[in-house]
C-alpha cells in the first residue's frame, strides 16, 4: 500500500479511536446521570410521601385525641375512638412499615432517622397503651371520677403531644434531608452538565482536529490540481496529523521537483532538438553551398578543355592562348582540389580523424609555391601581389606540408576573392623562435557581423564560399602549435590575416596523430 495512504489511515484510526473513547465516556456519563437522577427522584418522592404521612400524624393524633376525649365526655361512642386510633396506627405503620419510611430505606438515611422513627413509634406505643389500658374495654361508668378522667385527659394530651412533637421532629428532619438532597441534586446536575459540555467540547475539538487538517489537505489538493505546486499546508501539531501534513508537504515538494526536473529535461530536449534541427538545416545549406562551390571550378575545366580540343582541331590555337587556357584549367583543378580537401578535412575533424604527416619543410618555399598559383588567379591589371620573403631565405618548420599549403592557399584565395582592385601583400618574418606569415589585402575587409566568429564553421563573408577555409586553417595551425588571427586594417581598408609557427628543427621525421 502507498505509505502516504497508510499514514493517513493510521492517523485517522488513532484520532477516531480517541473520539470513540470519548463518545463511550459520554454515553456512560449520560446513563449514570439518568440513574442517579432517577434514584434521587424516587428517593425525593418517597421522602415527600413520608413527610406527608408524618405530617398526617399531627391531624390523626388530634383526631384520635378528640374522639377519645369525646368518648370520655360521653358525647361519642367507643367505635369512633377506635376508628380514629386505628387510622393513626395505620398511618404510623405506614411510616415505619418494614423498617423503612414509605419505601425509603432507613439504612440509606442518616442514623438520626431511625432514632426519630423509634421516638414516633415509642410515643405512639405510650399513647396507644394509655388508651388500651385506661379506656378500651371499659364502659362509660367505669372510667372513674371526673378528677380521674381529667387526669387521664391530661395524660392523653401529654402523650399525644409527645407523639405530635416526635412526628414533627421526623417531618422537620425529613424536610431538611429533602432540602439537602435537592441542593446536592442541583450541584450534581451542574457538575454533570459541566462534565457533559466538557466532553462534548473535547469531542468537537478532536473532530475538528481531524476535519480541519483534512479540509486543509483537501484545499491543498485542489490548489495542486490548479497547478500551484508552491502551496504548503501549515503544520500545527506534532502528532500523526502533523506527521501527515509534513508528509503531504514533502510529497508536494517531491512532485514539484519531479515536475521541475521533467520541465528542465523537456527544455533541454527541446534545445537539443532545436540544435539538431539547426544543424540539419546548416548541413543542408552547406551541401547546397558546397555543390555550388564545386560546380563553379568544374565549369572552366570542362568548358576550356572542350574549347582547347575544338581550337586544336581547327588549328586556330596560338601558343599564348593555349598557355592561358591550360593555366586556367590547372588553377581551377587546384581550386577544386583545395575545396575537396577542405570538405574532407571538416569531415576528418568532426570524426577526429585528421592526421598530420609532419616533416621538416621550408615555410618560405611553401609560401612561394602558393604565391605562384595566386599570381595566375589575380587580375594583374587590377590587383598587385607583393611578396616579401624573409631575409634568411628559408625558415624550417616541422609541419604537414600539404596541410600548411592548404592554409596558405585558403588565406590567399580569401584575399584574392575580396580584393577586386588594390594590393595583396604577403610578409614572412622570423620572430625569435617563431615564423610569422602575414597576408594583408586592401579589399572589402571583414564584415562586422562575422568578425567575432571568423574562424567558426560555415561562416562566410560574402555570397560565395563554403565557410570552411578559416575554420580548417585555425585547426591546422593550432595543431602545429601555432596561432592564427584575422582583423580589419587600422586604415579601414581591407583585412590582415596572420599566423605563427614554432621554428623547431627535428632530425628525424615523424608522424603525429592529432586529435582536434
Amino acid at each position: 500500500m502507498n505509505p502516504f495512504l497508510a499514514l493517513l489511515q493510521r492517523a485517522n484510526a488513532r484520532v477516531i479511536l480517541k473520539i470513540a473513547l470519548l463518545v463511550f465516556v459520554e454515553i456512560g456519563l449520560i446513563c449514570g446521570s439518568f440513574f442517579i437522577l432517577t434514584f434521587y427522584q424516587s428517593q425525593g418522592t418517597s421522602i415527600g410521601n413520608s413527610i406527608n404521612l408524618a405530617g398526617k400524624n399531627r391531624y390523626l393524633t388530634s383526631n384520635s385525641l378528640l374522639q377519645t376525649e369525646k368518648f370520655l365526655d360521653g358525647s361519642s361512642d367507643i367505635l369512633k375512638l377506635e376508628a380514629a386510633r386505628d387510622s393513626l396506627e395505620a398511618n404510623i405503620d405506614a411510616i415505619t412499615y418494614g423498617g423503612s419510611i414509605s419505601g425509603v430505606n432507613i439504612k440509606s438515611l442518616p442514623s438520626d432517622f431511625s432514632e426519630y422513627l423509634n421516638n414516633v413509634s415509642s410515643d405512639f406505643s405510650v399513647y396507644n397503651a394509655l388508651i388500651d389500658e385506661k379506656i378500651i374495654g371499659r364502659s362509660q361508668g367505669t372510667l372513674g371520677t371526673p378528677e380521674t378522667v381529667l387526669i387521664l385527659k391530661q395524660d392523653l394530651e401529654a402523650t399525644a403531644s409527645n407523639l405530635v412533637r416526635s412526628s414533627d421532629i421526623l417531618v422537620t428532619a425529613l424536610g431538611s434531608y429533602a432540602d439537602n438532597n435537592s441542593q446536592n441534586l442541583i450541584i450534581l446536575q451542574i457538575l454533570l452538565a459541566v462534565l457533559n459540555i466538557g466532553i462534548l467540547v473535547l469531542i468537537l475539538y478532536l473532530v475538528s482536529r481531524i476535519l480541519k487538517p483534512i479540509s486543509e489537505l483537501r484545499q491543498a489538493t485542489s490548489e495542486i490540481k490548479k497547478g500551484n505546486l508552491r502551496y504548503h499546508v501549515e503544520q500545527k501539531s506534532n502528532d500523526e496529523l502533523g506527521e501527515l501534513t509534513d508528509s503531504f508537504n514533502s510529497m508536494i515538494d517531491s512532485i514539484r521537483s519531479y515536475i521541475e526536473e521533467q520541465r528542465r529535461l523537456s527544455d533541454e530536449l527541446k534545445t537539443a532538438n532545436e540544435e539538431i534541427q539547426q544543424r540539419e538545416h546548416m548541413k543542408d545549406e552547406f551541401i547546397n553551398i558546397a555543390a555550388h562551390e564545386m560546380r563553379t571550378p568544374v565549369q572552366p575545366i570542362l568548358g576550356l578543355s572542350e574549347l582547347l580540343k575544338s581550337l586544336r582541331h581547327e588549328n586556330k590555337l596560338p601558343v599564348t592562348k593555349e598557355e592561358e587556357l591550360l593555366d586556367m584549367i590547372i588553377i581551377n583543378a587546384k581550386r577544386l582540389l583545395l575545396l575537396q580537401e577542405n570538405i574532407l578535412d571538416v569531415s576528418r575533424i568532426e570524426n577526429k580523424l585528421l592526421k598530420l604527416n609532419k616533416n621538416q619543410c621550408d615555410l618560405v618555399e611553401i609560401i612561394s609555391t602558393a604565391i605562384q598559383d595566386a599570381e595566375n588567379q589575380i587580375d594583374k591589371n587590377m590587383v598587385e601581389l607583393r611578396y616579401k620573403p624573409s631575409e634568411t631565405n628559408s625558415l624550417l618548420v616541422v609541419a604537414d606540408r600539404a596541410k600548411l599549403t592548404q592554409v596558405v592557399s585558403n588565406l590567399l584565395n580569401n584575399a584574392i576573392k575580396f580584393t577586386r582592385a588594390g594590393s595583396i601583400t604577403v610578409i614572412v618574418v622570423k620572430d625569435g623562435n617563431k615564423a610569422i606569415v602575414q597576408i594583408k589585402d586592401t579589399g572589402t575587409g571583414i564584415h562586422p557581423s562575422v568578425e567575432s566568429k571568423l574562424f567558426s564553421k560555415f561562416v562566410t563573408n560574402s555570397s560565395s564560399g563554403t565557410g570552411l577555409g578559416l575554420f580548417i586553417s585555425k585547426i591546422i595551425i593550432e595543431a602545429h602549435g601555432g596561432k592564427i588571427s584575422g582583423y580589419n586594417n587600422t586604415n579601414g581598408k581591407g583585412a590582415t590575416f596572420s599566423f605563427s609557427l614554432p621554428l623547431v628543427v627535428l632530425d628525424v621525421a615523424q608522424n603525429v596523430d592529432v586529435n582536434v
Binding site: E293, V298, L302, G303, L304, L307, L325, Q377
Partner: protein
C-alpha cells in the same frame, strides 16, 4: 555578329564563356562586378545577356530587372551553379524557359550546350514561333 553582355562574379567562369563565345565570332563584354556591368550598360547594344545568379549585390535576378528597365527588349540567359534558385527568386518569377526572353540553365555546361543555348536565345521570337 551578335553582341553579348556576360556577367559572372567568378573571373574564370566568365573568362571561359567569353573565350568560347569569342571563338564562335560573338562580341562579348565580360564583367565580374554586376554593379559595374549595370553602370556601363548601354541600351539597345546587346542581343543577349548571360547572367550568373548568385553574385554580390545586385544578384542576377535584380540585375536583370534593372537592365530591363533600361532596355525593355533585353533577353537573359541565367546560368547558375545553384541547386535551387528559390532563395534568390524573391519575387517568385518564372525563371524556367520562356523562349526568347529569359532562360535558366545549370552549371557546369559543356561548350556545345552553351552555344546551343545562346543560338536558341538569339532566334527572333516570331521566327521561333514559326519554326
Amino acid at each position: 555578329m551578335a553582341r553579348i553582355l556576360l556577367v559572372d562574379d567568378d573571373k574564370d567562369v566568365g573568362r571561359t564563356y567569353e573565350l568560347i563565345l569569342e571563338s564562335h565570332g560573338f562580341d562579348v563584354d565580360c564583367f565580374t562586378d554586376p554593379a559595374m556591368a549595370l553602370e556601363q550598360f548601354k541600351p539597345n547594344l546587346y542581343d543577349l545577356t548571360i547572367l550568373d545568379i548568385k553574385m554580390p549585390d545586385p544578384n542576377g535576378f535584380k540585375l536583370y530587372d534593372q537592365l530591363k528597365s533600361k532596355d525593355s527588349k533585353i533577353k537573359a540567359l541565367f546560368i547558375t551553379a545553384l541547386s535551387s534558385v528559390e532563395s534568390f527568386n524573391t519575387e517568385n518569377k518564372e525563371v524556367y524557359p520562356i523562349r526568347g526572353q529569359r532562360h535558366f540553365i545549370k552549371k557546369p555546361l559543356g561548350m556545345d550546350e552553351l552555344l546551343a543555348q545562346v543560338y536558341t536565345m538569339l532566334v527572333p521570337q516570331e521566327e521561333y514561333a514559326n519554326s
